[in-house]
Symmetry: C2
């Protein structure tokens, strides 16, 4: 306690009182979490630049107070802004939000951790740069870098985001500032065009890790394309999704489909428009089958919906449209190819039919279509966060999605992210493993499988729960653990985990984790930076 | 010396006498190098599997004898099979040459270090797998893994080879066997479809490095495509290449050109068919301008030739052909689009015209065209090694390219590999920096710039010298150093270096190399594995 008091005093001398916060209201705010494993920090530190980060690391080390760096702290469903244990000092990097460089010719920007999806998207439009950002559905106010360092994925051909990183600046636990790639050569003119540099390529070491604090990175952006189509494909029956995956895989493998397709179940789509219908369900959980069918019919969705974008020249997009139709012809999929001309027509029709039920449903579809096209162009939209509010007592907050913050809004949400090989049978197997567990614990299985690369699906299974019902919170935890353990046991290892599972990644007899532990000990012997984060061997406050 | 004697004895007990070689003839063979910085090993160890690698590492560590792992040792132009200093034990992994797994559906194989380009290529054809391997021009008997771990690049859409690695098995200096990606979870069914795994992504750490000995890796392969075209584009005058680069960059950036284009100067092309014409040159070096013009005319090449492949469906390739023609129309490039129907016609014409000069030139062009198409489909060809023999006394050996081995054939070759941003002006600048240095030292500048990703060129400047002329060897070293230093000073940092330059990568005040040194010390405190390799801070035999 004395040590942390001294550290706080030293940080206040460094950053000033207004940037070292430990009042209870602020601490509560940072402790808010969509997960039920919240931790309470010692204080919040708000550096303005890399030099300040290096200085505050020195203080942390001198006083042995653990730090927990966040970008904007919106790691929804995986721990939000929380450290692994109480009493860590949160290094909130959101004030470091400069776009340090933008290069239209070579199609990249250099960003700090606080740069949000909204900010970069607006910047590109305001400066009329012919570039599009890859975008996630996590909302406009989330950090790009925070997601990239967690190896998140987006929607566009640049959706395998880590592959778009070219050069990091980072601060190590001894305060050393390191530039990766070619960036540590002051003369280098090639630091943003070739990520690997010369010598060991280390960038991966700073993703899903606690090896350092990344303070900026080069981010490749995709050039605007001549044409953009969106494609939606629906199957009515559950099992019918398997042949669709197998039909699309060759197109993903051969580069016809270069963007990340998302495959959502009925509830994933339905939850975008409504929250859990308590009255219809009559107190029953999970959602009774007849109500689910009712909602499906009302929103016109089938068991599964595939959603993806086709990018390229007019000729390329036309060829891709034909290839998609041809591939899916033998399946039971209903394919819809959207272009913006079609959307305009539908919008006009919806205006004509205003006041009718059909007109209203059409207008809603047009609005969704517009959001999808915007997303494909890197314009973020908060509407895709709606799923987080599924079991929330008050439903969607007024004004949603403006200022949506699932953690502060007391949403309950835990994510499990198994990675099945991109095969229909694997998708069905993961679903079959998870579904009975969700049902047994009274939860509705929301799931999206995304074609995160050419060979794998990134599954996201959501346990959405009522954070204000203590019994339901308990059930959610149990449900989460069972699903996590089942996926680990069956070999569908997740690509990313929440704080609560980091220690469980290491069996205790795993050469990989032993090696990671050695590297961590070499770079951060006092275990100052995010102890326990993707590093089971270095327990917090050791 | 006592220590190394004890180590040899222990290795002989382990591997048997026939797999621990230290007779002078064998040592000479392994010391042979295209570079003039050759080193002589203590012995050659030939393990057969990972367990044996782990055991021999234990012995090395116990006796403090440095190891130097090679795959097949054909690291031409960068040090071949040589360790950084004399007296290291070469761990020759070429006998570990199993293809451990092949999966046509998910398009990957799992290979050991000894698997050569020829072997995998033949395997895919013999098993009629609908997959193509990415291929380099380094010849059929080179190791795939060796090149990948050096972050080499090939020709196809999978030419950025490190991006095709999914899961490594490796042996650390303490003998621990580690599986990266998801592979360290015994249950995992997803280890070959998603490279990053969960937690820090460490694979990059084992490329261009001495952190461990990689004993197998998952390698993604490209699915065979319906259509394949080759495109050649030539400019007569030197400066005319700049607008060509700038015209092609947007097509590379937007995915129209997904494979790695190679841009070679006149000598790079000419040296594929002939060696330095000593008589024509009349004892003068470098090649006199009038002789160079004569050779250009004779072989019908311009100052620069761009060579690349278009892959995809018929519709995609047709769209790409049109896009390439449209983009290059405003430049002075002469564009030729080859398909195999055209090649067949040309072959028929060549047969008709047999005996005439024109027929002979046409037949040679057809043969080159066939080799290019084979290369694009992952069938390696030794002919692209011819450049290494440019200044060799005896010219091309009889039977070339069968069994070509530039090191044993006493070729002299040093490579410098600067990475310019993908812009015409940068290409011209690198050329303008290098050309006078080559000329001043009497060498002919061969150069290829390859579009190794969407934003960078990988330059390969070759100093080809007569290894049997001591004065020329000295000039080659000096020339090499000047070029290397110039590229470093002007910020065109190389993507890869030969043994002779590894220590020069570190200024002595470089946070990146300090960090790499710490990681090395944590994983290999006795500095047993490849001391000094991409690690200036850990000198050999420390």
């Amino acid at each position: 306690m004395a040590a942390s008091g001294d550290a706080l005093a030293a940080w206040r001398r460094q950053l000033g009182h207004e940037r070292v916060l430990d009042d209870p209201v602020t601490l509560d705010r940072y402790a808010a979490s969509t997960s039920s494993w919240s931790t309470r920090p010692l204080a919040i530190l708000r550096p303005h630049d890399t030099a300040e980060v290096a200085q505050l690391v020195h203080v942390a080390r001198a006083h042995r107070v653990p730090l927990y760096p966040i970008s904007t702290g919106r790691n929804w469903g995986y721990g939000d802004a929380c450290a692994l244990a109480d009493g860590h000092a949160i290094v909130d990097l959101s004030a470091m939000n400069r776009i340090l460089e933008a290069n239209a010719e070579l199609a990249y920007v250099v960003i700090e951790p606080g740069v949000t999806q909204r900010q970069l998207s607006q910047y590109l439009r305001e400066h009329e740069l012919p570039l599009w950002m890859d975008c996630t559905g996590a909302g406009p106010d989330t950090s790009l870098m925070g997601n990239i360092l967690e190896r998140g994925f987006g929607h566009s051909p640049y959706g395998n985001r880590f592959q778009s990183v070219a050069g990091m600046e980072l601060v190590l636990a001894d305060g050393e500032i390191v530039h990766t790639g070619f960036g540590h050569y002051p003369s280098s003119v090639n630091r943003r065009v070739y990520p690997y540099g010369v010598g060991p390529y280390v960038d991966g070491l700073f993703t899903q890790s606690n090896m350092g604090i990344v303070t900026s990175l080069g981010l490749w952006l995709m050039p605007r394309t001549q044409a953009l189509n969106h494609f939606l494909c629906m199957v009515r029956e559950h099992e019918d999704i398997a042949p669709v995956i197998d039909a699309l895989r060759p197109l993903r493998l051969d580069g016809t489909l270069r963007s990340i397709l998302h495959i959502g179940n009925d509830l994933r789509v339905i939850s975008g428009g409504t929250t859990f219908p308590r009255e219809l369900a009559g107190g029953r959980v999970p959602l009774p089958e007849e109500v689910r069918q009712q909602l499906r019919t009302a929103s016109g969705v089938g068991a599964w919906t595939v959603s993806g974008a086709l990018y390229g020249s007019d000729a390329q997009v036309a060829a891709a449209r034909r290839a998609v139709r041809r591939a899916l012809a033998p399946t039971r999929a209903h394919v819809q190819l959207l272009d913006e001309r079609k959307l305009d027509l539908a919008a006009a029709a919806a205006r004509l039919l205003k006041g009718t039920g059909f007109g209203k449903r059409l207008a809603a579809k047009v609005a969704l279509g517009r959001s999808l096209f915007e997303m494909n162009r890197g314009i973020p939209n908060g509407r895709f966060l709606a799923g987080a509010y599924w079991r929330r007592r008050g439903g969607l907050p007024p004004g949603f999605p403006a200022d949506a913050n699932p953690a502060l809004d007391r949403c309950g949400m835990l994510w499990v992210s198994p990675v099945p090989p991109m095969r229909g049978e694997d998708l069905l197997r993961v679903h079959a493993l998870a579904e009975p567990i969700f049902r047994r614990h009274g939860f509705d299985l929301f799931v999206t499988f995304s074609m995160i690369n050419e060979r794998a699906l990134g599954g996201v299974l959501t346990v959405a729960y009522d954070a204000e019902d203590a019994a339901e919170v308990q059930r959610a935890r149990t449900c989460y653990r069972e699903i996590f353990d089942t996926m680990m046991a069956t070999g569908y290892i997740p690509y990313r985990v929440g704080l609560q599972s980091m220690a469980d990644l290491d069996s205790g007899n795993d050469g990989y984790w032993r090696m990671v532990g050695k590297i961590k000990a070499a770079l951060d012997p006092a275990n100052i930076i995010a102890p326990g984060r993707y590093s089971a061997r270095q327990h917090p406050c050791a």
